[in-house]
């Protein structure tokens, strides 16, 4: 295992992996203290080595992000070898392809603070087993929330009967497109005067201006709002306003207004980890700020893939599969 892989391993493994490895090492040490035979030593050493190698290969793969592997296009053997050489770690360099961790058992985030709902009923589908906890809503916000028919969380209806914009390939908006990083990564591209956040899903480029401009005074609403960013130490702070209120915050149907104000604080804590803290303030919809639990992103293996949500293809899917799988409403 190379030194690079080792250092990557040290900083990139998840807490789960770290605990698992520590457990193995402790068990091995315990065996040593009881004085097993040399044969057992060698066998255990081999097993531990194999386990660490296995884990490090996974971490190694997570490190580069932009190795260029592209499903359906370039295969790894078709790419230049030097793509695998990572840039030195720089906390002020956010560039790379990022997704949320996908280790087994990891909870896929779909909102600022969503959680599993504790239920032992195995007939409850996974889509209904989580929910977000937004702050108390205003009357305006509650009316909007009630009008949003969803297919996730405890209010879920069959997809034919929801009015989720995603089911028609309508714009997801922000921050909702961010939650798609569970399924589809995003890429940060840094230039001298802006940071571009390229979302794989819907192939959206979000512009975060870093040229010193302030937020616009009275902008026309936009699907992805208007964003400016600056550095505070090694934290990249992004402020955004001017959002079109037709988008949802999450697939649980939590709404927002055109007064939504987002503050995002990104920290690249090592080569392979990007942390995000987010606060959503929207006095027209919520009675107090909605503070997200810290969101962790890791380097993705694959390059960004073209994943435009095609309205005609979605319509065909809805017609031929989705709608006929749902129970028809009673006459």
């Amino acid at each position: 295992m190379s030194g690079t892989a080792l250092s990557t391993f040290a900083c990139d493994v998840s807490i789960h992996r770290s605990l698992a490895i520590l457990t193995i090492v402790f068990r091995f040490c315990g065996n040593l203290s009881r004085g097993p035979s040399m044969r057992v030593y060698f066998r255990n050493a081999f097993l531990i080595g194999a386990a660490i190698l296995g884990f490090s290969l996974g971490a190694f793969a997570q490190t580069y992000g932009t190795k260029g592997y592209s499903p359906g296009a370039w295969k790894p053997e078709e790419l230049p070898k030097d793509l695998a050489t990572p840039k030195p770690y720089n906390p002020r360099d956010l560039s790379g392809v990022w997704s949320t961790p996908t280790t087994a058992g990891y909870f896929e985030r779909h909102s600022l603070n969503d959680k599993w709902i504790d239920t032992k009923d195995k007939k409850v589908p996974p889509q209904m087993r989580s929910d977000a906890s937004p702050p108390p809503m205003t009357a305006w916000g509650k009316a909007k929330f009630d009008a949003n028919k969803v297919s996730y969380g405890p209010r879920a209806v069959e997809p034919e009967f929801n009015n989720d914009p995603v089911s028609q390939c309508e714009p997801l908006g922000y921050p909702r497109d961010l939650w798609e990083a569970n399924l589809r990564p995003f890429e940060f591209v840094q230039t001298p005067d802006r940071v571009l956040q390229h979302m794989q899903y819907h192939d959206v480029w979000r512009t975060i201006w870093t040229d010193g401009r302030a937020l616009p005074k009275d902008p026309d609403p936009a699907w992805y709002g208007y964003s400016v960013g600056h550095w505070e130490g090694d934290t990249f702070v992004v402020e955004s306003i001017g959002y079109d209120d037709r988008t949802w915050i999450d697939h649980f149907g939590n709404p927002h207004s055109d007064q939504m104000h987002l503050v995002e604080r990104y920290r690249r804590t090592n080569q392979g980890t990007l942390l995000l803290d987010m606060t959503l303030t929207d006095p027209k919809t919520y009675t107090k700020p909605w503070v997200a639990e810290t969101i962790t992103f890791v380097n993705a293996k694959a390059a960004i893939f073209e994943e435009i949500c095609s309205p005609s293809e979605e319509r065909r899917f809805n017609d031929e599969i989705r709608d006929s799988s749902a129970a028809k409403p009673k006459p």
Binding site: R27, A61, T100, A300
Partner: protein
């Protein structure tokens, strides 16, 4: 005896990380009985390679000789590519055996689990992580 317990422990840990969450999209799981599985043998009428959902459309002939047109829904091409699927992996006329979860209302619709192709090869999305990365592969 405690000394030899390391191997199964490591195997267990490796298994834990090889496992991957099932793919879900647009809340369609609400429409299917995910605690039940069925197996069908049929003939492909269309292999829909599309965003954001792929689908297998196929005909199944029942014991009375009636042909029922079925549809199975899958994830997006990004996820499926990493699981070994491609635009060319199936074509109309192919005889397949398909496994999945039935719809709640009894309609001939299926939430895909895996398929056995005419050459005996099995394709599944079980070992693909949510973001399309293969759980046990270093690209």
């Amino acid at each position: 005896m405690r000394r030899i317990s390391v191997s199964p422990f490591i195997l267990g840990v490796c298994f834990l990380f090889a496992a991957a969450p099932l793919l879900a999209h647009h809340g369609t799981g609400v429409a299917y009985q995910q605690d039940k599985s069925i197996t069908l043998q049929g003939t492909v009428t269309d292999w829909v390679w599309a965003n954001p959902h792929c689908a297998i459309l196929f005909d199944v002939t029942d014991e009375q000789g009636n042909v029922v047109h079925w549809g199975a829904e899958l994830g997006n091409p990004h996820q499926l590519s990493s699981a070994g699927f491609s635009r060319e992996v199936m074509k109309p006329g192919d005889k397949i055996t398909i496994f999945g979860h039935p719809s709640r209302n009894g309609a001939p619709r299926l939430q895909f689990d895996h398929v056995v192709l005419p050459d005996g090869h099995t394709l599944t999305t079980k070992n693909v992580k949510g973001n399309g990365e293969k759980a046990d592969t270093d690209y």
